[in-house]
Structures are given as C-alpha cells and as structure tokens.
C-alpha cells in the first residue's frame, strides 16, 4: 500500500515551507525555484498552506528554541507518508550560527530528516535537484 502511495506522489509532491529560524536567504531561493524562470511547478511541485495538505516539509534554519514546538507540531500534523527536506547549511548542522545559545544546531534535533540540500544558500537549481533526488528516493521504494 505504501509503495502505491509513494508511486502516486512521484509526480506531485506538495511542499510545506517552514522557516525554523533562517535568515530568509534559503527562503527566497526556494521561492525563486518555484517562480517563473525555473518553475518547479512543472514537476508537480507546489507550495501549500496547511501541513494537512503537505507531503514534504521543507525546513530552513537551525531551529530556534521558540520554533522547536512549532516544528514538532507541524510535523505531527502532516499525514503519512511524510518527508522532511532541509535546505541550507544552518538547517543541516547549525552552519555559521553553530554554538549559539538559542539554537539547536540543525533540524534533525527536532524531527527525522530525509534529505539535506547544503549551501548557504543553495542555488534554486540545487533546490530543484534536491526535490528530484527525493523523487528518485521514492522510486527506490523507501
């Protein structure tokens, strides 16, 4: 059953974008990937407004103490099967902010992560490539 669901989602991953304390750099690059020039929507990828509609949670930022609860709650609200993609260096490891008193050094401290797209920030092309990798991963029937 899970493989059927995964198969059906290959062509239309719906993303929920969540800023977990980033500097906006990754966020505008995610949007740049979705707008006219690169138009990720041609792969069926689109942003949705509610966690209940989303397949993929796209997190940017190192998770601040104040956002920790919100990240966990949002993840819990998403229907199965769900995936988490982290965009940016600080979301992956803490990046330049590593060691700060108000951050958790990475999204993996809050929720399980499926895919990292490193870069500070990654180019929109890299964001699209990351999504393509995720689709590949679904193909593998993970």
């Amino acid at each position: 059953m899970k493989s059927i669901t995964n198969w059906s989602r290959q062509k239309s991953l719906w993303l929920l974008h969540m800023n977990t304390g980033s500097c906006n750099g990754c966020d505008i690059e995610i949007l740049a990937a979705l707008t006219a020039r690169l138009d990720a929507e041609r792969f069926g990828v689109k942003l949705v407004g509610s966690p209940r509609h989303a397949d993929v949670l796209v997190c940017t930022g190192p998770v601040t103490i104040k956002m920790m609860d919100a990240v966990k709650k949002t993840y819990a609200q998403m229907p199965e099967p769900k995936f988490v993609v982290v965009v940016g260096s600080c979301g992956s490891t803490g990046g330049v902010f590593r060691g700060g008193y108000n951050i958790y050094d990475g999204v993996e401290k809050a929720i399980p992560v499926d895919l990292y797209i490193p870069g500070c920030p990654p180019k929109p092309e890299a964001v699209i490539m990351g999504v393509a990798k995720l689709i590949e991963k679904l193909n593998g029937g993970s």
């Binding site: 906006n24 949007l31 006219a36 942003l47 919100a70 902010f97 108000n102």
Partner: protein
Amino acid sequence: MSKRDYTEFNLGPQHPALKEPETFRVVVEGERIVKAEAILGHTHRGIEKVAEQRDYNKALYLAERICGICSFAHNANFARAVEFVADVEVPERAQYLRVLVAELERLHSHMLWLGVLAHEIGFDTFYFLVWNDRELVMDALETLTGNRVNYGMNDIGGVRADLTPDIKGLLMRKLDELGPRLEKIKEIALKNKTVISRTKGVGVISNELARKTCVTGPTARSSGINWDLRRDQPYFAYGDLDFDVKVSTDGDVYSKITLRIEELFESMRIIQQVLEHLPEGRIKTDVRGKLDGSAVSRIEAPRGENFHYVDFRNSKEPYRMKVRAPTYANVVSSVEVLVGHYISDIPVIVAANDPCFSCTDRTLVIDRDTERYQILTAKELRKLSIETTKEEIM
C-alpha cells in the same frame, strides 16, 4: 459593544509562502480589528553573542547572515564599523563597488517586496512577472560577486571582487534589458484596478504616527518624512553621485508601491553613474592585528536605517556587537495601523512595510464566548484577501 463580540486570534508563527515566522495576536470584533500585538523573536539566533567568539574576519560573514535579503547592507555596515575602529582608508574604487552592489541589492529587494505584495492581494500574475524580471538583477549580482544571496563581497578594508570589463559589459546588457521591464511593471502597478482598489487608502501611516513610532526607510518616506542617509549623511561614494530622494505624503500602501517603484528607477540611475565613473585603483586596504576602540555605523538598507555598533578591547573578537535592523522600527507602526481594518487587510498592511516576515499561517480563532476553536490556515486567510479583491473590483 459587549464583551461577547470580541474574538481573539493568533497569526503565525508560520507562513506557507514566505519568510520569517512571527506572531500577531489580533482581537477582532466581527471582521474589524480592535487591537493588535506583535510577538517577535522566533528567529532569534543569538548572533550578537556568537559574534563575540569570532574574530572580525569571521564575524563579517556572520553579519551577512543576519538577513538573507539585505545581506549586503549588514555585511557592509559591519565592515564599515570595523574600519572606523581600525582607522583605515578604504580605496575609492572599493567605495564605488560597494555602492554598485548596494543598489543592485535595493533593486532586487524592492522587486521582491512588490512581488510579495502582489501575492498577498491575490494578483499572482503580477507576482510571477516581477519575480521573473528580478532574476535579471540576481544574474547581475551573481556575475559580479559570485553568489546570488549572501555575496561575500566585502572584506574589512575593501571589497573582494573587482569589476572587470567583461563583467561590466554583461552588467550593462542586463540593465539595458531591465529598464523597459521596469517601465512595464510601473505601468501595471500604478494603473491596475486590482492593485489600486486593494491598496489605496489602506494602512495609512500618518506623519504624526510615523514620527511617534520612529519608522525608517521607504515607510518613513511614504509618510512625508524626508530622510535618507544616502543623501543626508553620505557614506561610501554616495556623496559623489547624483540622485533624488523620493518622498510621498499619503502614507497608505499604494504610496509605498509608487515610492518604491520610483526608488527602483533612482537605483538604476545610480548604477549607471557608478559604471560610467568607476575610478581606477586598488580595491582593498589590508587590516591586520588586534583592534581597540568602538564605533557606530549607519547605512540606508533597502528597508530603512541599519545600525551596527562594535566594541573591540585590544582583541580581534568584538567585545560587544549590537545590531538594529529597520524592521524592528517599522513593525510597531504596522501594528498600530492594523486597528480599524478588516482581517483580510492584515496580509497587505503587514507586507506593506516590507518586514522581514510575513506570517499569516495557522490562524487560531478563539471565540471567547463559546470557547470554540477554529484554525484558519494562511491559505484561507489569503482566500479571504482575494475575495475582498474580487468584491472591490466588481
């Protein structure tokens, strides 16, 4: 007006489409807002404290990552403050190159804002159009500095990348292409019925309120405060360049659109001048060793006045670093202005100040009387906004 008419709800902290998480707690009576309150701090990363453990060369890159949209403003401002402490002269060519990147950043930031505002009023065609044209500016920035967002352009004492004739030619081509497109954007933004009906007379910040809440940047200039650091306290090479500071007196969202579009053309003018009159010479003076002393630097970021303070006590690491970004000043005014407007105007008014956040997701409506919970998503809130647009133009 009895107590039972009031409804209190939270906006945020998460938004599906854009930017930083912030919460607005809003009390409404029916559809009208009677009280609004901003809750900040969701993206507090403790940068000022982290900077105290990094030497000034590393803290420079940390300062860049305070904000990904006005990254150059923070980066250059920090570099300038450290240069004051080190008491070095920055070469003239570097000063001009800093102006070049700062104005390219203003172009991309204002266009980004215009797209976001168009998105908030449900005019997505315009949003995509503006963001498509914005890519030209991003290309120019990438060619010049090597990066699209965090440019890494500045160094303490100068800049890291020079403008070669090849890059100059490419930049000129991009800007020639951008000119007519900006004209088109201007025409749509100023004449389109959808834009006018949703923004004219909405979110008026009076001159008095603007002064009371100490707003800065385009928000202040649209409320009739004639203040621009580029002209009034020239830094980098702005003193040598010829440009106008645009001021509007209406204070509504529409005047912020017109003002920012005028500023786009002024930025284009400044960039042309820089490309024509770029002086020859070195691009960097070396700064080495420990520093002692403190300094304040202020520059005009795309959103307003940006303040950096650094204090060195015979060390390479700052003893104290303090930053004040323009949104912090502007958010107070948008909270005051929300009162009296409809819920569907919240995205427009909050986005109008070009804040570094725009959060309208997971709206929690609590009816005080029945204690009934209702969760509105940003999608629904935006739908409400779009419906209002439709009603207005019908």
